[in-house]
């Protein structure tokens, strides 16, 4: 071998150059792949946050309201009691506007239209809770109409108000006067997280309360069922079962089930839990059971993987000092595998939290206004109708009022935050308890 064949160490030969170039290209491909992914993520986040961030703030109108005991009595005899209370609020609003010289020839109907339809219900709720309020004057903090709220969020302008049948330019001018006076304020919208859904007439009152509760209940059901069942199945398959064709078939089936479209579990849930077992439709119990079926394969696969990763020396050592097979599993293998199991479970739960399709079939895509109780004597455990977070997003995107677009994006942000918390928890648990050999 002559030196010329090797070439100089300082000067790269063509083959090395080629290899270096190939590596450079590969790095570029990788970088651009990550770039594309980040770009897509940024676009998604910008569009969602751009649309939805405004839903976390809401405009309120606060002014003194006077009601007499006689007026309450009359209102309570009406069929539409909340409508009667609305009238009382309107009278008080008019008095307030005149007192502060804010009307300035605004048509009365326009002034009344500034308040949300929800006001009557808020007011009635307040009166029922505080019967002493009769005959006194007190400050009420009421939601403004969705269009007025939209004006302070840039959705409604003087131009669109001219064309829009649900808002007039005069209302916007009056709103500005009220804001200058300090009666109309925009503040953080806690109600968005606590209020139940609202009908198409009052997007300003719609919130995620029922959806968040429903999602929590379902996650509780999934956690309580999928974790023990999944872990038991995995331990048996991994530590006790003999390797034969039956376990092979089971293994293939579990892998297959993990890839089955989730809507299939919805059909199954409708047939088994609602039609056969006669559990309540729309209930978090049924939703949780369906999502349990859906999450089980994910949990079993991740649990088996973390059991496999425990070195056999641990088991051998336990068996060597006289532990039974079960003792070796429960005293040594399982505690060591627990971080991996929990990580897999949390990721499975996060997947279940964002699932919509199976819930369509079991009646959870619904307008639900009552907060579901975790337990009631009639409906049993988690048996009362409810919705879930992803379902609420789906529902709101179908509403005709443009204010629901903002609400839907706000719900997506909330869901993303929940998912972020769960995934962060999974990473935290893994980092904290993970053992390396």
């Amino acid at each position: 071998m002559s030196i010329s064949q090797h070439g100089s160490l300082l000067q790269a030969d063509p083959h090395t150059k080629k290899r270096n170039a190939a590596e450079k290209r590969f790095r570029l491909y990788g970088l651009s792949a990550i770039g594309i992914a980040i770009f897509a993520l940024v676009i998604l986040l910008i569009s969602i946050i751009g649309n939805g961030a405004s839903s976390f703030r809401q405009t309120y109108l606060s002014f003194p309201v006077t009601i007499s005991a006689a007026e309450i009595k009359v209102a309570e005899t009406a069929l539409l009691k909340t409508g009667a209370y609305n009238k009382i609020i309107e009278t008080s609003l008019l008095a307030f506007l005149i007192e502060h010289d804010l009307m300035q020839e605004t048509p009365e109907a326009d002034a009344f239209g500034m308040i949300s339809d929800e006001a009557g219900a808020t007011f009635r709720h307040f009166i029922t809770a505080n019967p002493d309020a009769a005959g006194t004057t007190f400050q009420m903090n009421l939601l403004t109409n969705g269009r007025i709220d939209g004006y302070y969020k840039g959705r409604v302008t003087a131009q669109t108000a001219l064309l829009d049948k649900n808002v007039t330019p005069a209302q916007l001018v009056l709103a500005d006067r009220l804001a200058a006076q300090g009666a109309l304020v925009k503040r953080f919208n806690w109600e968005f997280f606590t209020n139940p859904d609202a009908s198409d007439n009052r997007p300003e009152a719609a919130g995620l309360g029922v959806a968040i509760l429903g999602s929590l209940y379902m996650m509780a059901v999934v956690l309580c069922l999928a974790l023990p069942i999944g872990v038991a199945a995995s331990i048996y398959l991994e530590e006790f079962a003999h390797k034969n064709w039956i376990t092979d078939v089971i293994e293939v089936n579990i892998a297959n089930l993990a890839a089955v479209p989730s809507i299939v579990y919805g059909i199954l849930g409708l047939a088994i839990f609602i039609n056969f077992a006669e559990l309540n439709q729309s209930s978090p119990l049924v939703g949780g059971l369906v999502l349990t079926l859906m999450t089980l394969p994910t949990i079993i696969i991740s649990t088996r993987a973390s059991l496999k990763s425990i070195p056999p020396s641990i088991r051998d050592a336990a068996l060597g000092v006289g532990a039974s097979k079960m003792q070796s599993v429960f005293h040594h293998v399982l505690p060591l595998a627990a971080p991996g199991i929990l990580t897999g479970t949390i990721i499975g739960l996060a997947q279940a939290l964002g699932e919509t399709a199976p819930l369509l079939l079991i009646g959870m895509v619904a307008f639900v206004k009552e907060y579901p109780a975790a337990w009631s004597t009639d409906a049993g455990l988690f048996g009362e109708a409810s919705t879930a977070l992803p379902v609420q997003v789906f529902n709101w995107t179908q509403r005709s009022d443009p204010a629901f677009v903002e609400r839907a994006s706000g719900a997506i942000i909330t869901l993303l935050i929940f998912l972020l918390i769960m995934n962060a928890l999974a990473i935290f648990l893994r980092k904290k308890f993970e053992r390396r050999w």
Partner: protein, 350 residues
């Protein structure tokens, strides 16, 4: 190892919770709220009434699901019992075949409640051309084949001015409801078929030798060359399509249009502007009745069912000055009869 022991305790606790859950699942369940499903057109009205019902009575707010008229009636007809729905919303009358299915499953006693009418309107981008349509225009623009000189020819029209010289020159781009929607049926019958008869195309087809059924079928078959687009989603999708393509003209419900008047302009039909007024007196031709159906066997079993139905059709809600009319429902001039029928639980066919 302390942390791991904590984890084990969590695992053990979940196992015991599992046992409790399984036990409780065997408890006989019951519900105290009214359960409704069906048409997505009726859904907003039902939701508005349900909201008021919850606020103004001591009964819990009913649960309202959408899913479409057919899906709702299918679930309605699944049987009697607490795990079936109490009310089905429909944007069309129940079919005989559906009643037969119902009867087979023991749902024989049904109360039909007509809540009012829904106008179907044609709307386009607010900044585009204005249109004054007749059913004939829509037939000539959208039919798959039209009779020309005694033979059925593929529809050659691509511009509204070709269809009718009075219309603005604009490419034909129509977003019409897909076949799973109840609205499609109304569109076919009240617009396409009407236009087919008005233009004389129906007569021409009979001359060619088609029998009546085939001719009607030909009248209502929509072109599939991309000029007419079926929208299977909701009106929000139709609106998004129009915002993306300003030539587009979409079919909407009146209430949807009324909530989006800053983005859409409505076309007249045979010279009439669609309003709740012009629809209720019958001047505006494209409208349809909206219904809900009550399972009579559940009345008295499910608390609040009858009260909800009476509440729905009360003057304060479904009347011309009520919140439903404000949202876009055309109130029924014969609402009093409906109120009586609900009060007496008058069954269908009685």
């Amino acid at each position: 190892m302390l942390n791991l022991e904590v984890l084990m305790t969590v695992l053990k606790m979940t196992v015991s919770t599992l046992a409790i859950t399984v036990l409780s699942a065997t408890v006989v369940v019951a519900r105290d709220n009214v359960q409704i499903a069906g048409s997505s057109t009726v859904l907003p009205y039902a939701a508005i009434v349900a909201e008021f019902f919850g606020e103004n009575t001591d009964f819990p707010t009913p649960v309202v699901e959408s899913g479409g008229s057919s899906a709702g009636l299918k679930r309605f007809c699944e049987g009697v019992g607490e795990n079936t729905i109490d009310i089905a919303n429909a944007s069309r009358a129940i079919k005989n075949s559906e009643r037969a299915t119902c009867a087979e499953n023991g749902v024989e006693d049904i109360v039909e409640v007509r809540i009012g009418y829904d106008g179907i309107v044609f709307a386009s981008d607010i900044n585009g051309n204005s249109f004054a349509f007749t059913p004939s225009d829509w037939y000539t623009a959208l039919a798959a084949e039209i009779p020309i000189d005694g033979v059925m020819a593929v529809n050659p029209n691509t511009n509204w001015s070709q269809v009718n010289a009075d219309l603005a020159s604009q490419m034909i781009v129509a977003f019409i409801p897909g076949t799973k929607h109840g609205t499609r049926e109304v569109f076919e019958e009240k617009v396409l078929l009407q236009g087919c008869e008005d233009t004389g195309a129906m007569a021409a087809m009979t001359l060619i030798g088609m029998d009546e059924d085939t001719a009607e079928g030909a009248c209502m078959s929509v072109r599939t060359d991309g000029i007419s687009v079926d929208i299977d989603g909701d009106y929000t999708e139709t609106l998004a399509r129009i915002e993306a393509d300003s030539n587009g003209i979409g079919v909407f419900g009146l209430s949807f249009y009324e909530n989006n008047t800053d983005k859409l302009q409505v076309a007249t039909m045979t010279g009439v502007v669609p309003t709740t007024q012009s629809i209720s007196n019958g001047d505006y031709p494209v409208s349809r009745p909206l219904y809900f159906y009550i399972k009579a066997a559940h009345v008295g079993v499910i608390p609040g069912l009858k009260e909800f139905a009476s509440f729905f059709v009360a003057d304060e809600l479904a009347g011309p000055d009520g919140p439903l009319a404000a949202y876009g429902l055309v109130s029924d001039p014969e609402l009093e009869d409906t109120q009586a029928a609900v009060a007496n639980v008058t069954l269908m066919g009685q």
